[in-house]
Amino acid sequence: MRVNVTVNGSEETVDDVWEGESLLYMLRERMGLPGSKNACEQGECGSCTVYLDGVTACACLVAAGQAEGREVRTVEGLAEGQPGDERLDPVQQAFVEAGAVQCGFCTPGLVVQAHDLIERTPEPSDAEIREALAGNLCRCTGYEKILDAVRLAARRKAAPK
């Protein structure tokens, strides 16, 4: 089947999609966007978290066809600026600086989910951060540095520019 979808602001048409494919598979294997990760493919780990019409969702649980006519924003679409001259989003930058990245396989999903949290709740408490990120598994960090990163990003986004 053919799927028309807007991904990271760009209108795309994807052909030859098998009806059983997930949005995650279509992004990763048909659209050259492997940033959303395939850690569990059963909606438990959050590593494939993307924005779907502005709401975060596990791309592995969305059928590719369900994305028809909708807007998807992936981790690759968070940085600002033109290709070749991107500036990392403050959440991405904070994850690097705070040591929240080890193997990094959970990172894209966590970055998208944390980005959404700070958009909705600019100054989240620790309890709010934990609640918002409870659906994103990380096996490396023990989460301490991830909390540090989200606090840092929230502070920077709240600071007057």
Partner: protein, 768 residues
């Protein structure tokens, strides 16, 4: 042949930090942007998808395999069985080739690979697998390791046995010492199967090469060891198989054994096309070895004042059907079976056993984790019986520099265990549970009470872990360093085959190069087999070993640089600092770029740690470890004793790392190791019955979330090890050991339950 897209490239190491600083990870920006090339992200024009048909039975004879209908499926390009393995049909770790590439006549564990398929689309491959007809004669699985020990000849899972390794340890005279003991405690313990649960699935891409060989891009922990196993099975010369490390999404021991490597290569060679394999989570639970489950019997005797007199210990580790690293895991369990305590009379019998249960091998802590839960539980019992409490009983028996381990090995570097416990004791306690916010209660937002049944408990744990490979293994690492002027600036290129699995090795390699060469710009080359063996990213060894190799290669480059500078400037009291050639007497003489000009200076060096000895097969004695590391934990828990729910409120840890190379990364290692120990304490277990895995998913195999993992307090000590580069002590594993017994001790303190099995389940807390 075209190259795959998204293969790993050179990365510039950002920042300016040397050893002791915390510069950003060289791969950090790529990882947060979603642009880091993991093994499952690989893609190539014209590639096929590989899939693996696995045994549904833990033990069965294979009467027939009919691949006809599968092969006839449109879009299917190959269906291969053991008959198609081009070379040696068996492979394995440690030169124990006992594992079939694809099952031959018999399957010995649920999930054992039987056939592989290559197809245009993963769904076509999956459907083709359903059309492979395998005729099984199902046999009763052998699942009781103690029964195997009792009758190893009859209960043989495979030709090798029986018992994989029996390792005794004998010190003094335990039977005579019984008479001296005024206090005796004994207990039996069990540890369930823990999974590494790395998030990046097993994956790789195999590309046929023009010379008839194959290029592999895979996520692994030890490329050269993979290659030594792969080439013979493919019937290829070692020079025809090349490997590049694809991005690794965590490892924790689970990538030391082969997964997709030979299968993908076979399919690529057979079809002449690139083949990608990528397991899903369900398959991953069957696609790698796990932590050995353990059944342990401990008896300790002490004088009335709490001084240990003897230990009588039996440790049984179930390795599953194939050898993997069970021999070395059993050796660790034996040599570290009573932990970092001085005990004059010791009898340990450690067994690794073959069964039809899930295959087990390396996981963070490697044989030291299981025993640690038991010996720490014993110390708590003894402290209680002697009226000393958990800290004093440990301090009274703690090793220190100069003490002997159970193996007779003398600890010849700092081991300040008593001091570490005292520092732990001095750390502030978290505030009492604020029951007004339901999220603070055990069970969190799904709590159904107002906290009436919540009781706080505090517990302590101590662990000791060997660092680097032990028991006489000639452990080595290789590094190539090239210094040249790029864009007007002296730049170091560091090339090793060491696997960056998330631990931050690439960061440390760049730091070492900056410190040793006095340059700012460092580039890390992709890890591949075009440079010598780095050994495994395991045993907490890469900072020590590959760090040591990079240091040695940099020293050789620096020596040549300074020799050239000496000729140029006529001074011989030179060093390279901040990009300059500096004379002690004459100050700055010039830039490194002035000395290098258009030349490059390159050096390759191998690094070996101090040799170790084997364990005596009868007494277990020997200087078997090159380095030992200590970590101690305090855990504070709130337990809902009515509902059986546990919330870990806080963990505090003291670890001696010899020298902090990178505090940010180091803290991440201690946090992450503690979290995996928490998982083993209260939630993580592969549940097995009759040899069948009952929970192969993240829905049913639970790992800690951000709600489960509490805040941590860390106190990191730097007592240098004079034998190690920079005085460092490997730091990846120790925290995984001690957090588990600390948490269980805290739950015991809150509940009064004996809790002799991990993970602790709600029914262990609430049943009468």
């Amino acid at each position: 042949m075209a190259s795959p897209v998204r293969t790993p490239g050179h990365v510039a190491a950002p920042g300016s930090g040397g050893v002791g600083d915390s510069p950003p990870r060289p791969d950090g920006a790529l990882k947060v942007a979603g642009e880091f090339a993991y093994a499952s992200d690989l893609w190539m024009d014209g590639m096929l998808w590989g899939a693996t048909l696995r045994s549904p039975h833990p033990r069965a004879r294979i009467r027939s395999i009919d691949i006809g209908p599968a092969l006839a499926t449109p879009g299917v390009h190959a269906v291969l069985t053991h008959e198609d393995v081009p070379g040696q049909k068996l492979y394995g770790q440690d030169h124990t080739e006992d594992q079939p590439v694809l099952a031959i006549g018999e399957v010995r564990y649920q999930g054992e690979p039987v056939a592989v398929v290559a197809a245009d689309h993963p769904e076509i491959a999956r459907r083709a697998m359903e059309r492979i007809a395998v005729g099984y004669e199902v046999l009763e699985p052998i699942t009781d390791p103690r029964a195997v020990i009792a009758d190893p000849e009859r209960l043989k899972v495979q030709p090798l046995g029986g018992v994989t390794r029996y390792q005794p340890v004998r010190v003094g005279d335990v039977d005579a010492a019984r008479a001296l003991a005024e206090v005796v405690v004994s207990e039996e313990f069990e540890v369930g199967i823990q999974d590494q649960a790395f998030l990046g699935p097993e994956a790789g891409l195999a590309v046929p090469a023009e010379d008839g060989g194959v290029d592999l891009y895979v996520s692994t922990q030890w490329m050269h060891n993979d290659l030594a196993q792969i080439a013979p099975c493919l019937g290829l010369d070692a020079s025809q198989v090349h490997m590049t490390l694809a991005g690794v999404g965590g490892a924790f021991g689970g990538r030391e054994d082969l997964s997709v490597q030979i299968h993908a290569a076979m399919l690529a060679l057979h079809t002449g096309r690139p083949v990608k394999m990528s397991y899903n989570r369900y398959e991953s639970f069957f696609g790698h070895v796990h932590r050995h489950p353990a059944s342990m019997r401990y008896e300790y005797g002490a004088t009335g004042d709490g001084t240990l007199v003897y230990a009588d210990v039996e440790i049984v580790l179930d390795g599953g059907a194939y050898t993997s690293s069970t021999r070395n895991v059993t050796g660790n369990a034996a040599s570290l079976g009573v932990g970092p305590y001085e005990i004059p009379n010791i009898r340990i019998d450690a067994y690794g056993v073959y069964t039809n249960n899930p295959p087990c091998g390396a996981m963070r802590g490697f044989g030291a984790v299981q025993a640690c839960f038991a010996y720490e539980s014993m110390m708590d019992r003894l402290g209680e019986v002697c009226g000393l409490g958990p800290l004093e009983i440990r301090r009274r028996n703690a090793v220190s520099r100069g003490s002997r381990l159970a193996t007779g090995q003398v600890i010849d570097s700092p081991a300040p265990l008593a001091e570490m416990l005292t520092r732990l004791e001095a750390m502030p306690m978290p505030p009492a549970c604020d029951v007004s916010d339901i999220r603070n209660l055990p069970g969190g937002a799904s709590q159904t009470t107002r906290g009436e049944g919540v009781v706080r408990g505090v517990g302590y744990g101590v662990g000791i872990k060997n660092i680097c490979f032990s028991e006489g293994f000639d452990d080595l690492a290789t590094a190539r360093v090239r210094l040249e002027v790029i864009g007007g600036e002296p730049t170091a290129l560091v090339h090793t085959a060491a696997a960056e699995v998330g631990q931050g090795l690439v960061t440390v390699q760049a730091q070492v190069a900056r410190t040793e060469l006095g340059v700012q710009k460092v580039t890390i080359a992709p890890a591949d087999d075009r440079v010598g063996d780095a050994g495994s990213s395991s045993a907490s060894r890469q900072s020590y070993m590959s760090g040591g190799a990079v240091k040695a290669a940099c020293e050789a480059v620096r020596a040549e640089l300074l020799a050239r500078a000496a000729r140029r400037y006529g001074h011989d009291d030179l060093s390279a600092i901040g990009g300059k050639i500096v004379s002690r007497t004459a100050g700055v003489l010039g830039g490194i770029e002035d000395v290098l000009g258009g030349d490059a200076i390159e050096a390759t060096r191998e690094f070996h740690h101090r040799p170790t000895t084997a364990m005596d097969p009868v007494t277990g004695q020997g200087a078997t470890h090159t380095q030992l590391a200590l970590c101690v934990h305090r855990a504070v828990v709130d337990v809902d004793v009515d509902l059986g729910l546990v919330k870990v409120v806080e963990m505090a840890a003291v670890q001696d790392v010899g020298k902090i190379l990178n505090r940010l990364s180091l803290e991440g290692q201690i946090h992450g190791g503690s979290a995996q120990g928490l998982g083993l304490a209260v939630m993580e277990e592969i549940v097995v019955s009759g040899g069948l895995v009952r929970n192969p998913s993240f829905t049913d195999y639970l790992i800690p979330t951000i709600l489960d993992m509490p805040p941590m307090r860390l106190d990191i000590l730097e007592n240098p090890d004079p034998h190690a580069p920079y005085g460092l002590r490997g730091a990846g594993e120790p925290s995984t050991l001690s957090s588990t017994p600390a948490i269980v001790a805290a739950v015991r303190a809150a509940t009064g339950r004996a809790l002799t099995r991990v993970p602790v389940r709600p029914e262990h807390i609430v049943t009468a």
